[in-house]
Amino acid sequence: MKIPCAPIFLFLSFAVPLFAQERPYFVTYSHEMEEPGNLEIEMYNVVGNPPGGNAFFGSTVEFEYGVKAWWTSEFYLDGQSTQNDSTIFTGFRWENRVRPLMGEHWINPVIYAEFEDTSADKSLREVVGHDGVPDFSDSNAVARLNKEREMELKLILGSNYRGFNISENIIAEKNLANEPWEFGYAWAVSRPLKLAASAHKCAFCRERFQTGLEMYGGLGDRHSFGLSQTSHYIGPTMNWTAPNGTTLSFSPQFGLNDYSIPRLYRFGISYEIEQFLSYFHRGGSQ
């Protein structure tokens, strides 16, 4: 089926963007929700070269919508391209995040639930169980035979302190094909380069840049919980929000053991459309 791209791009070019103030995280979720009525379109990519395998490019397109101030829903489309192999669509995910506590606290919990239907996925949006280098050694044709229909739960904990955002995620994932629960973690910390805003419009003001550190990895599964044969990554991360509302993010990440891919390069772009549904109401947007 041919997708009509022209009307979508035309719509996006006229939509009013927003200074999104995104956190520069690729795997970790913060407790901050999408504003109600806003739609954020994001594209996150990862490049890696696993030892003994072919280099790959994993990509995810996300549509994140603020249903309520305390509820965010997100739909993902995943794909990947492997050197000397093929480029394939790998599946979709649908997630929901809910804030059980209204208001801001020292530690803010968010409940996350996701269903995913993927195969041969290389987007590395999370690392759980014994995910590691061996998962990247099969060709796409073989890897596609392993269909993963999974339910994923996360407990997201987030805090803001003196301009720093500190986020921790505890992950539990279950393949619905009678496989054991797998576990993982992610944490990250970030801060804008400047906390107060400038009194004039500017593209490269320090407050438009955020830097931080992100770390994530697997914790085994129900039968073999722990760090044995698990992969872990750490890396600095940064982003810049342009005045037109586009956010660019980048992070080089480093594998911490032989079971991890030595280096991953992540980059992303996101764009937020304020009050998305108002464009479909009579009178258009205000």
């Binding site: 009013v16 927003l18 200074f19 103030q21 956190r23 913060s30 901050e32 929700m33 504003e35 109600p36 009525g37 603020g66 309520k68 101030a69 305390w70 804030r99 209204m102 208001g103 801001e104 803001n160 003196r162 301009g163 955002n165 804008p192 906390l195 107060a196 805003a197 400038s198 009194a199 004039h200 419009k201 407050e207 304020e274 009050q275 947007s285 205000q286």
Partner: protein, 128 residues
């Protein structure tokens, strides 16, 4: 029995409507803790903070509350006596930080604290 139910409906429905209206009309002010209510704005009286606050407002708030904070069909005006006079700077800062999520106002904790105070400066500076 039917009369009782009818009577209950006659009393309960307007009561619920009144309560909902009261909540939309600034009931949040009563929930601000005393410590936050008494906070003072570190940027008070600084024209640069008002200018910066206006830019923050345009980027984050104008779509819902209108380009000049006059309100839109679904969202309230911020050029009200409540924001300008009744609420202290601490109250406005508390609302921005915590939101009023059940009423659709998100938490703006993603903005650093100085920016919330700059936004407060701008909101408190507006006139009818």
């Amino acid at each position: 029995m039917r009369v009782r139910i009818l009577l209950l409906l006659v009393v309960a429905v307007p009561l619920c409507v009144m309560m909902a209206k009261a909540a939309a009309d600034g009931a949040w002010l009563a929930t601000v803790p005393a410590r936050d209510h008494e906070k003072t704005n570190p940027y008070e009286g600084k024209p640069d903070a008002i200018a910066a606050g206006r830019l923050i407002f345009e980027e984050h708030c104008a779509k819902c509350h209108g380009p000049n904070a006059e309100g839109t069909k679904k969202r309230p005006s911020l050029r009200s006596e409540r924001v300008r006079e009744q609420a202290t700077a601490g109250d406005v800062h508390w609302l921005l930080l915590n939101g009023n999520m059940k009423k659709g106002m998100p938490s703006w904790a993603k903005l650093p604290d100085p920016q919330l105070w700059q936004l407060t400066s701008y909101l408190k500076s507006m006139h009818d």
